[in-house]
């Protein structure tokens, strides 16, 4: 193992290594401690000394350093969360912000828990393992709530598609997301794959997991009941991921700095699969009073959070922790982020039964401590007391910063720099947009993910939302979408966050679901940059205002800061997830056109809005102006309309209009099953094809009059575009795009960049769907 600043679990006293105990710390106030190397500031270190009334031991310093990191303590971002706290209470929310994940009532006694988390920094350092353990971590969060994890999604962003570093990180990240999720038996039902120069050197890997349970099955992370046992179960503790949250996730990458590979965890999805099944059996037999997963900050986090959420204290005997590496120091054991571990609070009478379930699933389980009276978290090592702290000060007593904020100096200029608004060649631009890496067929990625396992996947990528059946008798289902347009947020973070919310909301609605709740993953640059901090605050305020307007609760979220290499921050990227419910999942609405002769209708209104659009980016390499105008009442009207039409079966398809506008949407609908259309467009054709005005969807139906009547009642404008059929997309008197040409352009991009599997084994073009 590489030398690490925390390696001294012992301190040198007179040249003789000596265990750094609480007793020793009390008498050696002047011993120098490596707090700066652990990511703590001088004033934070001083505060720890004041809390303890002495210097911390090496082990205590390790615990505080990881728990007070930006990643765990949200010390820069927390002050802005009051916007979420101010949202009105929601009847649908069973568990809100603060637990491992929020829980939402979806009806019939079912509860759904979902959350998205970033694993950006580890995935840059070690793409496969970074991405894999990102999936593993979010799955454990969902499991911890008492739910069976039922699906995952991934939202990925990279630098320019043809950049050498993208070729380094993308294949590994995709393989890691797939490798872990596939081996867990969780279908991947959707996500995003986008490219922008700003993510070069700082790719974004956001993973979502969703779980389902009955209302009565909800579990919370708290240690209660004097004498109850603390059981650590799952994988052994190793030297991987030490300081992951503090050294890696909470600092900016420095091109000159040392390699950070030892701070990345290594995943074992097989062990996690066993852990899932063991936990669900343990929950079913009611064998735990509290449970917490071990993720960022490992045992430091689990013990301090469990203890501080409970009524008493906790004592842990660290010598009992099963190790992969017997040379680990106490501090390293406390900081290790080894994966596939959970910590449970178990009544003494139930310990034997708990251990028996673990044995059945070949899961290692060890009693490492117990709940005590008093209010201290104490940890012994080799018979000596090395930790004696008030657990709340570790888990929740971290510093709270009111960081300075400044509106970016370049923003006025950026917003004044309006994009071009007229296309010189509509046909060429159409092909350019749909064959750009952002617009192109994503099969190269999604074919590496299992979308079928568990047999409840009703819609998956490339549909607008992932849709799952959750009950085979009642056909109740849920829908999920993740969206995060960083260009819009760069131009206006307040509006951009709301536009992302609106898009995820719309995606869920066009699939036939009723939007119900929101989660988020906030990816930003360094909070020490006042301009980044302003972007963050604006985005949070925007998301909260958007949720208030739509009447949706925020169930939780995740913040990833320091996403920058050197001085250049990424575009502010608030990735928003929306959960919806379908009372009857058989009424879901797919995006693809299957039948000839159906009427194609555009719902909503189009303006010449090109700021931050895919067309401006792809064709003109332009980012400027203002993002499209937000219209949340129009989004609600559209969602309500499609909900009504879906319920009575009026729609054959519906596809949300977003990146790439109408051209992108009809390309995807046509290529899904190889059905073309003949369209008539009037007015400003550049806007008609490429503008990204909000609250729009293109639908097909055999009953256009019924759609018109319902739309009139809902106040949604309708424009008839044409009729499906044929083997081309034709805009009368303007252009003619044979589907074969369109498919070739759309599906060739990613294989050309990242290698074609067919080169090795066959000749089936990507994106084709065989028919029986």
């Amino acid at each position: 193992m590489t030398a690490h600043p925390t390696s001294p679990g012992t301190s040198q006293v007179g040249g003789v290594p000596q265990l750094d105990t609480v007793e020793l710390a009390a008498t050696t106030a002047d011993t120098e401690q490596p707090y700066a190397e652990l990511g703590l500031r001088p004033e934070e270190y001083q505060e720890i000394r004041e809390i303890l009334g002495r210097r911390p031991t090496t082990a205590e310093l390790a615990m505080y350093s990881v728990m007070w990191s930006e990643h765990c303590s949200y010390k820069s971002s927390r002050v802005h969360f009051r916007h979420f706290a101010d949202l009105p209470a929601s009847d649908a929310l069973l568990v809100g912000i603060g637990e491992n994940a929020g829980v939402v009532d979806v009806g019939d006694g079912y509860a759904v828990t979902f959350k998205v988390e970033s694993h950006n920094h580890p995935s840059y350092v070690e793409p496969y393992q970074g991405a894999a353990t990102g999936v593993g971590g979010i799955v454990r969060d969902i499991l911890t709530m008492g739910a069976r994890p039922v699906a995952v999604m991934d939202s990925l962003r990279f630098g320019a598609a043809d950049a050498p570093d993208t070729a380094r990180v993308l294949p590994g990240i995709v393989a890691g997301v797939g490798g872990y999720g596939n081996c867990l038996g969780l279908p991947n039902i959707g996500g995003e794959l986008l490219f922008d120069d700003c993510y070069l050197g700082n790719p974004l890997v956001n993973a979502l997991c969703v779980g389902v349970m009955r209302h009565g099955d909800i579990r919370l992370a708290k240690a209660e009941g004097l004498g109850n046992k603390v059981v650590l179960f799952g994988a052994r503790t190793g030297g991987d991921g030490i300081g992951g949250v503090s050294v890696l996730a909470s600092e900016t990458f420095d091109a000159e700095g040392p390699a950070k590979r030892p701070a990345v965890q290594v995943g074992d999805p097989f062990t996690e699969k066993l852990l899932i099944e063991a936990c669900l059996e343990i929950f079913a037999a009611d064998l735990v009073t509290g449970i917490q997963d071990l993720g960022g900050a490992g045992l430091s986090c689990a013990t301090s959070e469990l203890a501080s959420a409970g009524t008493g204290g906790m004592h842990v005997d660290l010598d009992t922790v099963p190790l992969r590496d017997s040379t680990l120091t106490a501090a390293e054991i406390l900081m290790s982020e080894s994966q596939e571990r959970m910590c449970a609070i178990v009544e003494p009478a139930k310990v034997e039964e708990f251990l028996a379930v673990c044995r059945k699933w070949d899961v290692l389980a060890t009693v490492i401590g117990e709940v005590t009276d008093g209010d201290r978290l104490t940890i012994d090592w080799h018979g000596e007391r090395i930790v004696d702290v008030p657990p709340r000060t570790v888990a929740h007593g971290g510093p709270l910063y009111h960081r300075p904020m400044t509106r970016p100096a370049d923003l006025d200029g950026l917003q004044a720099d309006a994009p071009p608004s007229s296309s010189a060649d509509l046909r060429a631009d159409w092909l350019a947009v749909v064959s750009s890496p952002d617009g192109a067929d994503k099969s190269w990625v999604t074919e590496q993910y299992d979308r079928y396992v568990r047999g409840n996947t009703v819609l998956a990528q490339p549909e607008d939302a992932g849709v799952l059946r959750i009950d085979e008798q009642t056909h109740r289902g849920i829908a999920l979408s993740l969206d995060g347009n960083g260009r819009f947020a760069r131009l206006d973070p307040y509006t951009g966050a709301q536009l992302n919310l609106a898009e995820a909301y719309r995606n869920v609605a066009v699939s036939g679901a009723r939007p119900l709740a929101v989660t988020n993953c906030m990816n930003f640059g360094s909070p020490e940059n006042p301009e980044v901090m302003w972007q963050f605050a604006e985005a949070v305020r925007g998301l909260a205002d958007g949720c208030r307007a739509l009447g949706l609760p925020v169930t939780g979220g995740n913040v990833s800061l320091y996403n920058q290499t050197g001085d250049t921050a990424i575009n502010p990227t608030p990735v928003i997830g929306v959960l919806g419910v379908l009372d009857d999942v058989r009424r879901r609405v797919p995006t693809g056109w299957r039948a000839d002769g159906e009427t194609v209708l555009l719902l909503g209104e189009t303006g010449a809005e090109f700021g931050g659009s895919a067309w401006a980016s792809v064709v003109h390499r332009h980012l400027g102006g203002l993002p499209p105008a937000l219209d949340l009442p129009a989004e609600q009207a559209l969602a309500g309309l499609i909900g009504t039409l879906a319920t009575d079966g009026t729609l054959s398809s519906a596809h949300d209009l977003a990146d790439g506008g109408l051209a992108q949407a009809v390309t995807e609908s046509a290529l899904r099953h190889g059905t073309g259309a003949r369209l008539r467009l009037t007015g400003d054709l550049t806007a008609a094809l490429f503008a990204e005005s909000v609250a729009r969807a293109v639908v097909t139906t055999t009953r256009p009059d019924a759609v018109r009547a319902a739309a009139a009642a809902a106040g949604v404008p309708v424009t008839e575009l044409g009729v499906t059929g044929g083997d081309a997309l034709v805009v009368e008197d303007v252009l003619d795009l044979p589907l074969a040409e369109l498919r070739a352009a759309w599906s060739a991009t990613l294989p050309a960049l990242f290698g074609s599997p067919e080169a090795a084994v066959g000749t089936v073009p990507a994106g084709t769907v065989p028919t029986s």
């Binding site: 097989f270 079928y452 009703v458 067919e758 084994v761």
Partner: protein, 223 residues
Amino acid sequence: MRIGVITFPGSLDDVDAARAVRLAGGEAVALWHADDDLSGVDAVVLPGGFSYGDYLRAGAIAARAPLMRSVVDRAHAGLPVLGICNGFQVLCEAGLLPGALTRNGHLHFRNRDQALLVERADTAWTSAYTTGQRIVVPVKNGEGRYVAAPAELDRLEGEGRVVVRYADGNPNGSSRDIAGVTSADGRVVGLMPHPEHAVEDLTGPSVDGLGFFTSVLSSVVTA
């Protein structure tokens, strides 16, 4: 009709296989790898997944599970056994089927809707089909490339033991486009594609996979 579905540590498609049995009209019986007893089932399905994390070789450790001794013994006496994906790998490792499944030629895990041609419509698991019938079911694997020595492949083809073959493109580089094979008596079938994921219009690309499960119900009745 009782059809057992074995769960090994790391089995993933066991719930899917059980659902397919039920939709076909059978009773799905959950079997546990560590037991010895087949609970009197009339046929057995080894489902897909990553038993033991694919460690060592895919299927190698599961093939040595206690329950597999009973499966092998009963299969030699004519018990219908279906191995899907990881289950096919287990059957090859257990010696019930010839050949081996190796890492895909392109080295990626790959999930797609796959066209297949049914070449044998008279095994215990494919009697509901017609010879030459084209079906579409999902394929999803990382180690699904079927290999055997050329002479062995010649023998299998000569004996008509190729049950299904990939059509319209080979997803993983399998020798001679072989997607599934059978035992000499036609009672044991293994294939990489997943018929249990094509049993409902709502969730599958087709319902073409249901025939595997209806076939065994009629074969058990007539056996």
